[in-house]
């Protein structure tokens, strides 16, 4: 058994920031990650990091933009904590050597981004995430923080109390990909989930192959509610063939969207008369798909993003990376021709329910970054707000787990925060097919930390043994592809009740097939067949959670649009969709959105750009 004060699961931006913070508090912290940290998908973030750095700007304006962008589904304490701390975090990065793009006077540059009332997006070319990830990993190396890389965490070591709020997380179980060793990891200070995105629940996504929602799925099965899972951001500018992201920075610098008629449709068709291409991402994605559905798409599939008029110098200076991406992954020269783009799954606003200090309702279990839901993005995340989020809340989770007093959180977590129950009609029973498959210890009063971990190690060894021993069965890749296809087909930008139900049925069929899944590769050495098979289970759980949330929320808010409910219903729906695993029989309930900030209450207004 490996022992540390604090364990961070995931080596991307949130994980690295959390580890540095815990280390600053004097904790013995280790990072356990299925990829070497520099392989993490934070590195693919392109556009930038929002922070109110200048005198003409203020954290209050940043908070308001974020709340408005969230379509009033974000919680004010989370948003205000975020906006206040973002500037310090950006300057921190600068002090750690981040190669930001610069102004003539040598200060960090900022550019306009969608939904922002001030050009407050700091950046490093169009590869901001890459530089941020490497800058923070460098600081981890400098501090000598231990990293278990290519160790796959497959289970949390949580006690078996009936009420999730009584449960304690003592560590986790991880599988050493290189050797096949299954080991327990113990942490008395806390376990911080920082596993990133869940885009692999969809088949057209900007997310990496590794973004399989491991954190949300593990926390959910261990008893932590997942929040606002239906809120999925579809980025308006992804390359049609691969889903590779073309940064919002292109539009921030002045890039223009055209339909097949050569119309600048964002203005000419009235989708966003003021902001045009720089309207919020959900608005632009729906506009593009509406154009395509009305027959104005190119090849009935995509629209054009043109940046040629910006000139070669400016493009090379600020968007060079975009030229490479368009060339390498779509065969298009962005200096000579417009780039084809269409919406693609990009980001999960929802996730593991946490408070401003990163704590879940399970004692000792934290989450930060994309896998978590504080909630600050609500129904729609603004471009440039993900990177500062993982800095601010990664740091807070790390400090808190490391022992720093951050004050009482204002956001309530756990089933006790429920304000209203829900009974949604589903065509199938969602949840576990096999009730014996539980992620909490289930044999009586197991409370001793080491015993809890041993119990989970044994359970994991048994699961791996079973998967490896079967000689025959279903290949997980088929099951995964089925889930991804139904999600992109039925739980996309435009959502309709019948389609959502169809997706639930498809996921159920996938769950049943998964009962027969087997791992063809018998090896203990670098068995990616095994790892992907375990990940596919997580993909099914998060896909189902997304779909259940989408079915429950009968309104149109932010990224979530429903065919039969095309209006925002503030009287009824300013509340978070919560989903509890409930030992395999998922339950939906709601908890209130907190609109009361420190000095003011945010009044929901129509969100127009």
């Amino acid at each position: 058994m490996y022992e540390h004060d604090v364990l961070v699961i995931g080596g991307g931006g949130a994980g690295l920031r959390a580890a540095i913070a815990a280390h600053e508090e004097g904790a013995d912290v280790a990072i356990v990650t299925k990829l070497h940290p520099v392989r993490s998908h934070t590195g693919a973030a392109e556009g930038g990091i929002n922070a109110a750095l200048r005198d003409a700007d203020s954290w209050e304006d940043h908070a308001y933009d974020t709340m408005k962008g969230s379509d009033f589904l974000g919680d004010a304490p989370a948003i205000e904590t975020f906006a206040k701390n973002a500037p310090d975090e950006v300057i921190n990065l600068e002090h750690w050597g981040m190669p930001f793009s610069r102004e003539e006077d040598g200060r960090v540059s900022q550019r306009p981004f969608g939904g922002l009332s001030f050009p407050r997006t700091t950046y490093a070319g169009a590869e901001t995430g890459h530089h941020m990830l490497h800058t923070m990993y460098e600081q981890v190396v400098k501090r000598g923080i231990e990293v278990y890389d290519e160790w796959y965490v497959s289970r949390l070591a949580v006690t078996d109390h009936d009420d999730p709020e009584d449960r304690v997380c003592h560590g986790c179980v991880a599988y050493d990909i290189k050797t096949g060793e299954i080991a327990g990891f113990k942490a008395d200070g806390g376990v911080i989930l920082a596993t990133g995105g869940l885009g692999q629940a969809f088949d057209h996504t900007t997310n990496a192959v590794a973004n399989t929602g491991d954190g949300p799925a593990m926390a959910y099965r261990a008893g932590v509610p997942v929040e606002d899972m239906e809120m999925i951001q579809f980025h308006p500018t992804t390359l049609p063939s691969t889903g590779v992201l073309i940064s919002e920075g292109v539009r921030g610098e002045g890039g223009i969207l055209y339909n097949d008629e050569g119309e600048r449709f964002m203005f000419e068709e009235g989708y966003a008369n003021n902001e045009g291409e720089l309207a919020s991402r959900d608005v632009v994605s729906r506009a593009e798909l509406t154009e395509v559905n009305e027959g104005n798409g190119i090849e009935d599939e995509y629209v054009h993003l043109d940046m040629r008029h910006l000139g070669e110098d400016r493009i090379l200076d600020r968007l060079e990376n975009i030229l490479h991406l368009a060339e390498d992954f779509e065969g298009v020269d962005g200096l000579e021709e417009p780039m084809p783009v269409k919406p693609g799954q990009h980001y999960a606003m929802g996730g593991i329910e946490v408070d401003e200090n990163g704590e879940t309702c399970i004692n000792g279990l934290y989450a930060a970054g994309e896998c978590a839901c504080v909630s600050m993005h609500g129904a729609n995340r603004l471009g440039g707000n993900a990177l500062p989020e993982l800095l601010v809340f990664g740091a807070r989770a790390g400090y808190h787990a490391g022992g720093r007093d951050l004050g009482e959180a204002r956001i309530d977590t756990g089933p006790s925060a429920m304000s209203e129950e829900e009974d949604v009609n589903t065509p199938i029973s969602p949840g576990a097919v096999d009730a014996g498959d539980e992620d909490i210890a289930a044999d009586g009063a197991l409370v001793d930390p080491s015993e809890v971990i041993d119990h989970h190690v044994t359970a994991e060894e048994r699961r791996v043994e079973e998967l490896l021993e079967k000689d025959d069965g279903v290949n997980h890749a088929e099951v995964r592809a089925d889930v991804q296809e139904t999600m992109t087909e039925n739980v996309n930008v435009f959502r309709e009740e019948g389609n959502l139900k169809e997706a639930l049925e498809d996921i159920r069929v996938a769950r049943e097939r998964y009962q027969d899944v087997y791992v063809r590769d018998p090896s203990r050495t670098f068995n990616t067949d095994l790892i992907h098979t375990i990940e596919t289970r997580n993909i099914m759980d998060v896909a189902e959670a997304i779909t259940l949330g989408a079915l429950a929320r009968e309104e149109f808010r932010g990224a979530h649009w429903r065919q039969q409910h095309q209006e925002r219903k503030d009287d009824e729906w300013i509340k978070h969709t919560m989903l509890a695993w409930n030992d395999g029989n998922p339950e939906i309930y709601y908890k209130p959105v907190v609109l009361e900030g420190e000095n003011k209450t945010y009044e929901p207004k129509e969100r127009s750009y």
Binding site: A44, H95, G97, D423, N425, T426, S429
Partner: protein
């Protein structure tokens, strides 16, 4: 949560419960038969896709697993993959794995040349699988594409190599920003002029893929040689004016040691294979000049 249709679910649960534990011999055999059929369907589907595809490519992939019978001795397996426009080497590998042999092992994650996981040796050249278009390979439809793990590194399995040595060399150059002093005051940033940022720009693009190190003859012969990636990392900090003279001094001392910059014989192989177009050889040469200047200063 209420359910519209109950029966279906109960039925399958019973099935599921009895299956793994102690199902009768017959049920088990039936089940196996059904599953074998499913696997056959998958392979059949692949065959059909290959037949239907107007063009296919043949990839020959290095296989090795120290603990699996038949794979302990390295061998090559050949897969036929339907070709589509825009297909990359990584796409071909994924197709082969998902349709023919799920034990085919290779690292990959972002699919967009930023995570640096999938540096491979394709037709005798180091490259990123995700960034290498099949159509750009010579005679891609007529001849076999040979895919091997990065040379000069220990093979863990199939196309996966041990990256530990590479990481050790990266860490040996103290790869972290370390300013002599930081500005005081709230939200006070260090200033950096645009020229200086431009100077280090290319060096900061490194994605740690290891292609350069694998292509370097010197690194192949001298295991202690820092290698192009690590020296480039040192360059990135030594040239960053925010760090200050003292730190630069220490950095030059590191890269000037016996297995540092002077080993480089300017063969440019690293520069040629770098998927991020970093002028590695130029950076190494510039550090040599800096080191000479530096030594003269203390004379």
């Amino acid at each position: 949560m209420s359910t519209e249709i109950k029966e279906k679910e109960t039925e399958t649960e019973t099935e599921a419960e009895t299956e793994p534990a102690e199902s009768s011999h017959k049920t088990r055999r039936m089940e196996q038969k059904r599953q074998r059929a499913a696997q056959r369907d998958l392979e059949e589907e692949a065959r059909e896709e290959v037949d239907e595809a107007e063009e296919t490519v043949e990839i020959k992939v290095f296989r090795f697993d120290p603990e699996v019978a038949g794979k302990e001795e390295p061998r090559f397996d050949t897969f036929h993959v339907p070709f589509f426009k825009g297909m990359t080497v990584l796409d071909a590998l994924i197709y082969a794995r998902d349709h023919y042999d799920s034990s085919l092992t290779f690292r990959h994650s972002c699919r967009q040349a930023i995570c640096g996981s999938d540096a491979l040796f394709v037709n005798g050249t180091q490259c990123l699988g995700c960034k290498t278009q099949i159509a750009d390979l010579e005679d891609h439809l007529d001849s076999t594409i040979r895919i091997e793990p990065l040379p000069h590194q220990e093979v863990v399995k199939d196309l996966v190599v041990d990256m530990e040595h590479f990481y050790d060399q990266m860490e040996a150059v103290e790869p972290f920003f370390d300013a002599d002093e930081l500005p005081d005051g709230e939200l006070e940033e260090q200033r950096q002029d645009r020229e200086n940022r431009e100077k280090i720009k290319m060096s900061t693009r490194c994605i740690w893929c290891g292609a350069c190190m694998s292509s370097c003859n010197i690194a192949a012969g001298d295991n202690e040689y820092l290698g192009p990636a690590a020296i480039n990392k040192a360059y990135r900090f030594a040239m960053d004016e925010r760090e200050g003279e003292d730190r630069k001094q220490q950095r030059l001392n590191i890269i000037e040691q016996e297995h540092g910059v002077w080993r480089c014989q300017t063969q440019f192989s690293c520069t040629e294979v770098c998927p991020k177009d970093i002028p590695l050889t130029d950076h190494i040469q510039e550090l040599k000049r800096e080191a000479v200047k530096n030594n003269l200063k203390f004379w």
